[in-house]
């Protein structure tokens, strides 16, 4: 998923109007009224297309998919009867129905039993890819910042993986990862990359790192270019070696740019769908939460609603935590600023 990426950098800037500072030539009269009229269509549309469905999903998550017999009337209930927390218990506590109103732990192979594994797969992908992308992206950015001749060429090259749609990326890597494909030829191996667990997971990580590292590098490079050369010169004069200069100057100064990149990449990988869905179809331990929700859609919409609500809350909590952390680091006063 690349859709949040373009927003990543721009949010950094978008927070500027909120910063305290001299607000020159602001319009003063009738601002509130004009602002309301200008913002209202956006808010209304987002309310309709994002707000309403989310509230509806939360409501739906308390309804039942199964046609149970109502004990008081002896009649079949249509799906959609109020069922309380059953759907949540199904996913979180692994309770599957076993007839006669009893529940058992979900049998292996059912969608229900895949919940916790999909959570850990998703979190695993997130940690590994974001870590790799940040480290490799940092190396890319440092090198691009040092090279003056080839920079334009590198920037053009770097935008190509970013410009390729994820669906195409997935197909492209399927071909590269084929047992008879180019990668095995180059490495002299005979891996069936996508047909067992760890190779399949590595394949997804490699493809994702290929596609998004350049983007992170670009963001970090933007941060690097804001650092004055004088700081490095004076550090050199003071006898700081290259590593000390990197740790004491580069890292702290590039941290704001890095934080934005890391937060947006994290949220993006947490909801990752297209790459694993096309590359492995979610097979061999690569089912992410988003894939699980889509699979569940056709076998019970209300249960799927509970699952998508859990996903939403899960990602929202991580987002909130990261933004807090990030604010505290940047502004130095936790809970204020940065929004």
């Amino acid at each position: 998923m690349t859709l949040a990426e373009p927003a990543a950098g721009s949010t950094a800037k978008a927070s500027l109007p909120e910063k305290p500072g001299p607000k020159r030539n602001k319009i003063k009269t009738g601002e509130g009224r004009l602002a309301f009229m200008l913002v209202a269509p956006t808010i209304a549309l987002l309310g309709l297309i994002v707000g309403y469905p989310i509230i509806k999903a939360i409501f739906n998550s308390f309804l039942s998919d199964s046609r149970k017999i109502d004990p008081s009337t002896g009649q079949f209930q249509e799906p959609g009867a109020w069922t309380g927390l059953t759907n949540y218990k199904h996913w979180l506590l692994q309770q599957c129905p076993s007839g006669a109103g009893k529940t058992i732990s979900c049998p292996t192979g059912t969608l229900g039993s895949q919940f916790w594994s999909s959570i850990s797969v998703t979190v695993g992908f997130t940690v590994v890819t974001v870590l790799l992308e940040t480290i490799i992206g940092m190396v890319f950015a440092l090198m691009m910042n040092r090279a003056f001749k080839g920079r334009a060429l590198v920037r053009a090259a770097i935008l190509i993986p970013w410009a390729i749609p994820t669906a195409v990326t997935a197909k492209l890597w399927i071909v590269i990862f084929d047992p008879q494909g180019i990668l095995n030829k180059l490495l002299g191996t005979h891996f069936a990359w996508t047909s067992s667990q760890w190779p399949a997971r590595s394949a997804i990580v490699i493809a994702d790192v290929w596609k998004t590292t350049p983007f992170i590098a670009l963001l970090i490079l933007a941060g690097l270019q804001g650092i004055s050369a004088d700081i490095y010169e004076s550090a050199k004069v003071d006898g700081a070696n290259a590593w000390q200069r990197f740790v004491k100057i580069t890292l702290p100064l590039v941290k704001p740019a890095l934080a934005v990149a890391v937060i947006f990449r994290t949220l993006d990988v947490l909801r990752m769908y297209d790459l694993p869905a096309i590359l492995t179809g979610g097979a061999n331990g690569t089912t992410t939460i988003s894939i699980l929700v889509v699979k569940q859609l056709n076998s019970g919409i209300y249960s799927a609603s509970a699952l998508s609500t859990i996903t939403f809350v899960f990602i929202f909590a991580i987002a909130l935590g990261m933004v807090r952390l990030f604010n505290a680091n940047i502004v130095g006063t936790p809970g204020k600023g940065g929004k």
Partner: protein
């Protein structure tokens, strides 16, 4: 934050000012840097190059790993566009149509909000900004489930509106954010001058700011269009298998070349068709796009 802003200006303006004074002509360190630069370029381009090689290669030689173009044929492209199996032309048209409508909608509505966010101070602005940011960060599956049910009830599954409307959820926040950052950087003194000369805020916007903002609008439109063109999750479910409306990403994901055939070369041909227009656009406007991505500075 400011580091991002400054940096982007440098990238955007393409100044490439040396951060360290190049005293020596050539050193082992330079060779190291060059080697890593070459590696980066190889890493970014090699898979794309391989896609192009296979797209033009005879299917019989799919697993031939000769690293340059050989066994050239256009058969793969003909196959991708043939109307009985893949109908790829139709899906390209759908992608264009959906992308155009989504971009037009998001830009038309987003431009007003972006202006207000960048220029006006009003109560609840922080909250609105957070809400828009939140809308762009939530997982697509969170709205997919209720929309699937809703559209199923309305008989909308597999129709254009079902593919276009949900994309507003990410394209509108993207447009508002990018425009807000672009607008914050514009020379608003000109607007004030117009206001002093007696123009209303509306006139100042239309006659002074809009012409100045055109490049920013254009860049934002490109980013929104790219996001729409890339979308897969919502489209794959809400198109409901109807090839008449599904976009090229969905069509590509279920690409076939007949039973028991591994359609690698044909898929790569289709991938090239989907990608090359984007790559051309991105390379043509790379400076603007990088500035839009990193901070949105329109200076220089």
């Amino acid at each position: 934050m400011t580091a991002v802003a400054h940096g982007s200006t440098a990238v955007e303006a393409g100044t490439e000012a040396p951060t360290t004074a190049p005293k020596r002509r050539f050193s082992p360190g330079d060779i190291g840097t060059l080697a890593v630069i070459a590696l980066i370029i190889f890493w970014c381009l090699a898979p794309f190059y391989w896609m192009a090689v296979l797209a033009f290669r005879d299917t019989a030689f799919t697993f031939d790993t000769t690293p340059w173009f050989n066994h050239l044929t256009l058969e793969n492209f003909r196959y991708a566009f043939n109307t009985t199996d893949n109908k790829f032309g139709r899906s390209l048209f759908n992608s264009l149509l959906i992308g155009a409508v989504v971009t037009a909608l998001a830009m038309t509505i987003g431009v007003f909000a972006g202006y207000a966010m960048a220029r006006l101070s009003f109560r609840g602005k922080g909250l609105i900004l957070a809400a828009i940011l939140g809308a762009s960060m939530f997982p697509g599956v969170a709205i997919l489930t209720p929309l699937f049910q809703l559209f199923a009830g309305w008989g909308w599954l597999g129709t254009y509106p079902a593919l276009i409307l949900p994309q507003i959820s990410f394209s509108l926040p993207l447009a508002v954010y990018t425009l807000t950052s672009f607008f914050s950087d514009m020379p608003w003194e000109l607007e004030q001058a117009a206001r002093v000369d007696g123009a209303t805020p509306g006139q100042a916007f239309r006659l002074v700011i809009f012409p100045l903002a055109a490049p920013a609008l254009f860049t934002t439109a490109i980013l929104v269009f790219l996001a729409s063109w890339n979308e897969f999750l919502l489209s794959s479910v809400l198109s409901n298998g109807n090839y008449k409306v599904e976009p090229s990403t969905v069509a590509l994901a279920k690409f076939t070349a007949g039973p028991h055939v591994v359609p690698y070369t044909q898929t790569m041909a289709a991938g090239i068709v989907v990608t090359v227009p984007l790559v051309i656009v991105v390379l043509l406007f790379q400076r603007r796009i990088v500035s839009g991505l990193t901070a949105g500075g329109v200076k220089g």
